[in-house]
Amino acid sequence: MAEGGAGRKQNMNLFQQFFNMRIGVVDLSASSAVIVPLEADQISSYIGGATLNRSLFHQYQDDPLVFGVGPLTGSFAPASSLLVATFYSPLFEKICHVPFMLRTGPDMKFSGIDFLVVKGAASELSLLYVDSGTVQIFPAGNLRKLPIPDITRALKRDFLPFQSAIVTGPAADHGILQATASVGARGSLDKAGLASRMAAKNLKAILFNGIGGLSFRTDNPDQGKELITRISAEKNFSHRGFTSILTKLDGGKAAGKHLRKLRKKNMACYHCPAQCMTHVEFIRQDASQGEGSIVKGGLLLLDHTGWMALAKKVGTHVLPLFHICLQSGLDPESVAQRLSDGGTMIEWLFAIEKMFPESGKAQIAESYRPTGEAPGKTHTLFGGGIAPIPPSDVWGKRVALSMILGICPLFLLLFPQISETDLLTFISQREDVLKTLEDRIPSLIQTLLAD
């Protein structure tokens, strides 16, 4: 036991460079937010990310939402952009772990907390502001039923400074279960109903003001560069844009064709060498600016399965409909299920409008189940939005590993040559520590996958 204790202490010191050692616990019912220390034992047992989220989910009863980061989130490890939201999915009726990428993970970590537990429900629409290791609750009634771009604009204009935001749109305000939480106005891979759970708690948004920092390990910058150089040099490093991911999926090639003639710019998440997102420009008519006036717009495509499902249903009209889904905070995959085959644009727009009832649950709530079941039930376990990139036999394990360590799951799926050890060396290069971690990780993965 003494040896085990010493080992745990060593691990604690090891992980302290990777965490702020702070958990924000918010009770919306009582309008209170407290910071509790993240215990060394918790990190030693669960390492971080989804496994620690799961532990906190069970620790704090009352159906909480848990947001957390992994040890490598924000670090020099490539694609260290992950924030994991763990909650009970009303759609899948089980505990789910939804990944948020872009810069949400690092911004949460650099805002001074590692995990955020949201309990209870607020009496009025609220938002959480995380800054310098504190969590504050603010009213957000003025944001109700606004389109998501207007929400982010209003927050940037009128609110305190922040770097990243997880917001819900009008779909969540209307009580639609298939509403998705969005990272700013850019969408997300949430297909498990996080937005509807947030709406049930009267929580409109979570803002992270990530202006702090962590030391991580000082010898890591070059290690990260070496790993990126290594994978860049390999022949299969051809991941350039949203379309390149689509081509890896069944039926994705046809969906990718709708992007051909558009002006595109590939984008990447925090410290990621793979560009799996694409910003597309489009021109649309804007009646508010006067009759016949044309507005130049654009949106970021990051939901591969959503795009595929919608493209399959509506063909060339996919872009404007996808845009509407993003603006209203709706899952495009669920919308696709709602639309009729061979309909017209007007019919589809009418069908989307019908999804917004004046009160109560949306009509599609009961019938909808995500279609991307290829890698088995684990697909829904991780939110249902992560592209089922083959090989499917390791899909679950790779995603679970990424969810624990705080690395983008798409990145790990795209580069199967990156081993578990490659990533763990960012935590420590000492062989004994590595061995301990390598022994610990498989059981944690199994725990996650068992849900």
């Binding site: 020099f76 810069r103 000082t218 925090y270």
Partner: protein, 441 residues
């Protein structure tokens, strides 16, 4: 050791208080003789927005140098993404040739080293943020946490952001190694001057050998106006210069004109310009001079302007044989002295030969384009500064707009192309719409 140093006792009235000038002497711009001809080339970080994916690796790596931890908000570089247009920009100190932050700093904490790097001396910095306000790029970044000012110092010659950028969107460069156009132009100008002024005296106005003849087009027009007859041989002789202008713009003005060469030399010895009053700064004046020259010739019955034409007098009067023989000698220095007011003043506002070539240049086949998206904009604008006729709009460049260059005014000296370190200035056919940096998606 034989030297004796006498120490004076300080008097009671003597003031020993230090002021800012004692601590931080005012920066003095040092200009060497060679600097006039070949300004020093310092390295800088060049950003390619087409390659940037907005991953923020530059921020995280930069912050480790500033704060010894990963704290992107404390970096000296900031990636800004326009979510609507999907464009990424970096806010990064460009180590301007004439930094605006430097005079803005009240404590003179900012200095530009001999290596071209603009640094903030933390000892003197009071974190007032005036440098951020003065910088057009807002490149000195205020740390939102501890309010410190962070500014890129190029990692003392090996920028980490450049080393770690996974997309190679940042490059560390010194720009072009050799400005060959400059050397070629000076050589051709010198050879033209020697040939037209010293060797073949007077041949610019009219020259004939065998069946080949050449004539000044403005002189020919005056000849036609004064004599009332069109001599086909003379008129066709004048076409050579006009055809050259159609093919290559006003290349004559920038590369061949001997008076232009004199003006360029005078410009080198009078770098400080007094400027023209605004009511005289009309480029249309030269067209009026052209019309006046033709009208005057018609009225007087002889080629009126040719008697005072600086190009003609230079070619006629300054040769070995005719030196000190003519009263025309005063014309060239008199008109060259206009250079004190503005570069190529004569060419900009008065030259009727340039006016005629300018009219012809409306039919030109080529043009010069400058792609503002490819350059450093406000922190460089070297193209606007070196343009001898001042037709490149620096304000447009500062706003990131590619300036439209009026080719009727452009003398095709190609200084902008030569000087631009980013290859943003190019020669294109007039029907080509592509602008450097704007044709890639």
């Amino acid at each position: 050791m034989s030297e004796h140093v006498t120490m004076q006792e300080p008097s009671a009235e003597q003031d020993f208080s230090l002021n800012l000038d004692d601590l931080r002497p005012r920066p003095v711009e040092k200009r060497t003789f060679s600097g006039y001809f070949m300004p020093p080339r310092h390295s800088f970080v060049l950003f390619d927005p087409d390659k940037c994916t907005g991953c923020g690796t530059c921020e995280m790596i930069c912050s480790t140098r500033n704060t010894e931890k990963v704290a992107p908000a404390s970096a000296s570089v900031k990636v800004v993404t326009d979510e609507k247009l999907g464009k990424n920009f970096t806010i990064l100190c460009q180590h301007c040739r004439k930094p605006l932050c430097l005079p803005a700093c009240p404590t003179r904490a900012i200095e530009k080293g001999n290596d071209g790097i603009v640094r903030i001396n933390k000892l003197f910095c009071t974190e007032c943020g005036l440098c951020t306000m003065a910088c057009p790029a807002a490149a000195p970044l205020k740390d939102p946490g501890n309010q410190e000012i962070h500014k890129c110092d190029l990692c003392e010659g090996d920028p980490l952001c450049v080393r770690h950028c996974p997309e190679k969107a940042l490059t560390f460069t010194r720009g072009k190694a050799f400005r060959w156009i400059k050397g070629l132009r000076w050589t051709i100008q010198l050879v033209s001057f020697l040939l037209l002024v010293i060797v073949f005296i007077g041949t610019f106005c009219y020259f004939k050998t065998g069946s080949v003849s050449f004539a000044c087009p403005t002189g020919t027009l005056q000849n036609i106006a004064s004599s009332g007859t069109i001599v086909l041989v003379s008129a066709s002789s004048a076409l050579a210069l006009l055809i050259l202008t159609i093919l290559a713009g006003r290349l004559f003005c920038g590369w061949i004109c001997p008076f232009g060469f004199v003006l360029d030399l005078v410009d080198k010895i009078t770098p400080k310009k007094l400027g023209w009053p605004s009511f005289l700064k009309s480029r249309m004046t030269k067209y009026g001079v052209l019309a006046g020259a033709i009208g005057g010739s018609y009225a007087l019955g002889f080629q009126a302007f040719c008697t005072i034409c600086p190009i003609g007098t230079l070619c006629r009067s300054y040769g070995v044989q005719s030196f000190f023989k003519s009263a025309e000698l005063a014309i060239v220095p008199a008109l060259a002295s206009l250079e004190i007011a503005q570069r190529r003043s004569w060419c900009r506002y008065f030259c009727p030969v340039g006016a005629l070539l300018g009219i012809t240049a409306t039919l030109r086949l080529i043009k010069i384009v400058i792609g503002a998206k490819r350059c450093k904009k406000f922190s460089c604008i070297q193209c606007a500064e070196v343009c001898p006729v001042g037709i490149i709009e620096a304000d447009q460049l500062r706003e990131g707009i590619s300036p439209k260059i009026p080719m009727t005014e452009c003398i095709m000296c190609m200084r902008c192309i030569d000087r631009c370190p980013y290859d943003a200035a190019k020669i294109r056919f007039r029907w080509q719409k592509a602008v450097p940096g704007e044709n890639r998606t």
